[in-house]
């Protein structure tokens, strides 16, 4: 059940929203889509779902094109949240669930289970407009997963939620993956992607600038972060060979270095200068990679 995008391009008039995108999204994993606003994430999702047609290229799921005959196996949480404000939660989910081919009685059992899990069982007969935004989002999430989809597309699932609810939703996403759902999700919050995804793709102006397994991406990036907290002036470190950049903090600084070997040279350089409180070598964060890669393609 692999989702495959082959040289997919989407043009709106003269504007190219997605440019020659080729991806392979493995089965039963969580795949992260990263990108700044307007990078083409939502357009890509809409093309995967068949809501809009690609100008060029081919999208297939399990070697078949996605159309309405498969919609019962696909779940979608759109970026723009939307539910009928005047309908009760139960009416709402029953309608959307039936449109995904479920029976009414099954929907109610599932819905009650989900509401329990999200600790809001009393919302069953409340109208959507009476709920807070975060709680509406939970209902929206339920509407996307109620029919146990094989492919779940989540467009910015955690935006606008408080940390407690983010954790709750993250756990739900992880559980869905465990039960065999392939999940594609987009975010511009790097830490969520780092925590959840095995594979990811960073988009910039419709083009993938980084693409692959998370560990692989980090390893091939090469550069590491070095945190130093010390009681003396650290300015001179940025002139050492192998140091790419320096970011200063009140207690010390963060160095970006070309490889881990450089860290030892830095250590020697500060050895006899005074008291060192912290000296820590860290893997680059996705954030560093994103900023660097996105920055590069700007130039």
């Amino acid at each position: 059940m692999t989702l495959r995008l082959e040289q997919v391009t989407k043009q709106f008039g003269s504007f190219t929203a997605v440019d020659n995108l080729s991806l392979e999204i493995p089965d039963k994993q969580i795949f992260g889509f990263l990108g700044a606003n307007g990078a083409g994430k939502t357009t890509t999702f809409r093309m995967i779902l068949g809501l809009i047609d690609a100008t060029d290229g081919k999208i297939s799921w399990n070697r078949e094109t996605i159309d309405y005959s498969k919609s019962d196996h696909i779940g979608y949480l759109p970026e723009e949240r939307g539910l009928y404000p005047k309908l009760k939660v139960s009416e709402q989910i029953i309608y959307l669930g039936r449109l995904r081919g479920m029976k009414k009685s099954d929907i109610l059992t599932e819905l009650k289970g989900w509401l329990e899990r999200f600790k809001v069982p009393e919302y069953l007969d409340k109208k959507i407009e009476e709920l807070s935004k975060g709680n509406q989002q939970k209902i929206q999430f339920i509407s996307a997963v109620i029919h146990k989809p094989k492919l779940l597309i989540l467009d910015e699932p955690f935006s606008g939620l408080d940390p407690v609810n983010v954790e709750m939703l993250k756990d739900a996403v992880k559980d869905l993956k465990e039960s065999g759902t392939s999940i594609v999700f987009s975010s511009h919050q790097m830490d969520h992607v780092e925590e959840l995804c095995e594979h990811l793709c960073i988009m910039q102006h419709g083009k993938p600038i980084v693409h692959g397994a998370l560990t692989e991406i980090k390893r091939s990036f090469g550069k590491k972060n070095l945190f130093i907290h010390a009681d003396f002036e650290l300015d001179f470190l940025k002139d050492l060979p192998g140091v790419v950049s320096q970011k200063k903090f009140p207690e010390g600084c963060k160095l970006q270095i070309e490889s881990e070997e450089i860290s030892q040279k830095v250590l020697q350089a500060i050895q006899h200068k005074g008291f060192v409180r912290r000296f820590e070598l860290e893997e680059p964060s996705l954030n560093d990679i994103f900023i660097e890669k996105a920055g590069e393609s700007y130039e």
Partner: protein
Amino acid sequence: MNKFWIVLAHTYWTRFKSKSFIITTAIFLLFIIGIANIQSIIELFDRDNEPDVVAVIDETDSIYSVLSDSIEQMDNNFILESYEGSLQEAEKKVQSETYVGVLKITYNENDLPVGSYHTNQLTNTSISTILKNQLQQIKVAMATNQAGVDQAVIESIYAPVNFDTVPIESSDGTTAKTEEELSGARGLVYAMLFLLYMTVLTYGNMIAMDVANEKSSRVMEILISSSSPVSQMFAKISGIALLGLTQIATFIIAGYVLIKQKQDELVGGMFAFFGLSDIQISTFVYAVVFFLLGYLLYATLSAMLGSLVSRMEDVQQIMMPVILLVVIAFMVSIFGLNAPDNSFITITSYIPFFTPMVMFLRVGMLDIPFWEVGLGIGIMIVTITIFAIIGARIYRGGVLMYGRSSSLKDFKQAMQLSKKE
């Protein structure tokens, strides 16, 4: 196709259960009950109304009794009363509202009656007109009497002429519609025009609102990811159509029950006016066909336009052209009721937006060959199909479009968004 029914049922039930639907239906029912009981209501208000009194100062001494008799026979809402005092006194009593007016009758130099009516209600001409007409008759009788003409001669002069309109049989054995058939058809055409007008305005608007509502609440994107926009559009149109039929059926049943109850009062009244009993079955069939086609055409148009706006506030604005079309169609057909064979009417009956009203009017009022009706229906079906195809594409693209403006540019953009390669 299964999802078509889910959307249809959802559209129908959520609307059916909504407060606004229940309230409008209730108001209309009250209105119908009111209309059916209009006679009792009018009587209720009239009962405590004393008849108006007109004082008569008769200087001829002979005319008052004749005039009073004939006024009484006419059963008007006023009576005459002989007054012995002077005109000034009587006028004072008019001021104090004892009388509505004073009629002074004198003879002129030819011994013929002359009347002058003094009142402070110059706007209310009905009493003075009746008095004048009655006095005129008395004057004619007296004048002819003076001239020595026999009463029988007078009557034969004033008797109405015998005049019949006879339809000529044409070569294929059919005759032009008789006067009864025509007035019957006119009634049905009136009813149908009004029904279509109301339906298109109300339910067309409802469809556009529904679509715009789903867009503004952004639920649309989930909906179109689970079932095709085209089947959704038609499910919506059919759902609202069913809702409309439910509402209309409620009114018709209520009306029918009331008419049954009030049969004695109403026979010869409303029924004779509309003459529903003289209509051919085919006219009824055409009424249903044109009604459905008309609804479908305007509903498709509304759904298409509704998908172009993203806020409820813009619905009215974008529905304007549709409303204008319906109003024009209505005006044309009102004109056509009096001149159904005018060539302007003939031409407009082939313009699809006007066909359901104008062509039906021609079918009802004239004897037009079947091919003309068939052509009209054909043109409509083709137009509906074209609108459905364009509408479906615009709908597909339009529902993903969120912008402020609502113009021709949007049509293009929506078409582009939905472009099939």
